[in-house]
Symmetry: C2
DNA sequence: ATGTGTGAAAAGGTTCACAGCC
DNA sequence: GGCTGTGAACCTTTTCACACAT
């Protein structure tokens, strides 16, 4: 509980956490810095320095104890509680998110799902019953939700974001491709698959131009 | 067409590109480095240095010309062609991805959709007819696809990845939460919303612990 | 042998400060 | 006034090299 960790470090720790959790599910026991590096795209030396920095040690010639590593990282990051999430949009995308196993595995629970389409209200997606968007503020307050997910058509996204801000949501995951305008104390994260594609394709096409050997 | 740009730079350029394209859609004409910084989370000074590095200039007191900026970045990154994509999984998630506007806007076309569920074959998602997964290799070769998206249930993901590798797909976008094991010349990108959440929540909860004023 | 731990050097990013053009 | 352009100091990350434990 000492001073705040650096942004880069915490970001990398979350990556180690996800990879290690998955490897544990595959039945793995010990994990090397090289493996963590391969799966996260982070340099193995950096991995070792990071784990060292949070006071976690491996055994030479073997690697790091997977289960202990997960516990160490979770306790350092303070990720021991679960967070309730408000999801807006009960279409294909919203349904997919609500039934995904990714969120619950990391301590996130889709606690409420909202839509403005009367035909969807009352249906069940994932484990929850879809409510009308008008109930958002009340539900968010009741379930103490600080995270919201926008999975609506693009044209509704800004309006939904404003409702969320009004309801004191602090972090918004935006699955649409519109730029949301919100106060600066609200964190926006856009899920944009093209970001990674563009970056990767640049190197792929570069490499093709250099066929010389 | 000179030497390869640094990874960090290309990565940031894609962010400027996305934000600028969106602002243009909102009718904007000129954009300041501060705005680009706010929407991308990148330091404004860094933004100016980056644009300078690719030889793009703004006008003092005004900012950067949005349309020209998009063109400059696209030509530097070589993102002028369109790429055909093979999408596997025609459930809720696959349908959502196939009908999303994000990909086409950036030059990506969902050209083929596959599933192994007979009841889905022949249906239309987005603009394309769902084919049986057995046709993947042939379709990928015909449409020259080097990008694949996995939007299946988790238990099929590894098998699909292997089919894609077999079909010479080079870049895989993985929407499931399994760790895919593939040869190292294949790029895997996992769409994981929790990465950003965990990182953000760490700072949010830290801040709460420091209520001192 | 294999994989951690760590010093030292180099590269990349961030921040401050300020000059210069609209 | 507003915002770009850039030098200089500083911090973070990457990489090389090698000692050391199992």
């Amino acid at each position: 509980m000492r001073s705040t960790l650096q942004p880069g470090l915490t970001n990398r720790l979350t990556k180690y956490l996800r990879v290690t959790q998955q490897l544990i599910e595959e039945g793995r026991d010990a994990i090397s810095s090289k493996e963590l590096g391969d799966f996260t795209g982070i340099n193995p030396v950096q991995v070792r320095r990071d784990l060292n920095a949070i006071g976690f040690s491996g055994t030479r010639g073997v690697g790091y104890q997977a289960y202990d590593l997960v516990e160490a990282v979770r306790s350092i990051l303070g990720l021991r509680q679960t967070y309730n999430i408000a999801l807006v949009g009960a279409g294909n995308l919203g349904s997919a998110i609500a039934s995904s196993t990714i969120l619950p595995k990391r301590g996130f629970v889709i606690h409420d799902v909202f839509d403005n389409d009367a035909s969807k209200i009352g249906r069940t997606v994932g484990n929850v019953v879809v409510k009308h968007i008008d109930e958002l503020e009340k539900s968010v307050a009741e379930a103490d939700e600080i995270i919201g997910i926008i999975a609506t058509p693009a044209h509704s996204a800004q309006a939904v974001a404003e409702l969320m801000v009004e309801a004191e949501i602090r972090v918004i995951l935006n699955y649409t491709d519109v730029l949301l305008h919100v106060p600066s104390d609200v964190d926006i994260h856009r899920i944009d698959p093209t970001a990674q594609l563009m970056h990767t394709l640049y190197y792929l096409t570069q490499a093709e131009g250099e066929e010389a050997s």
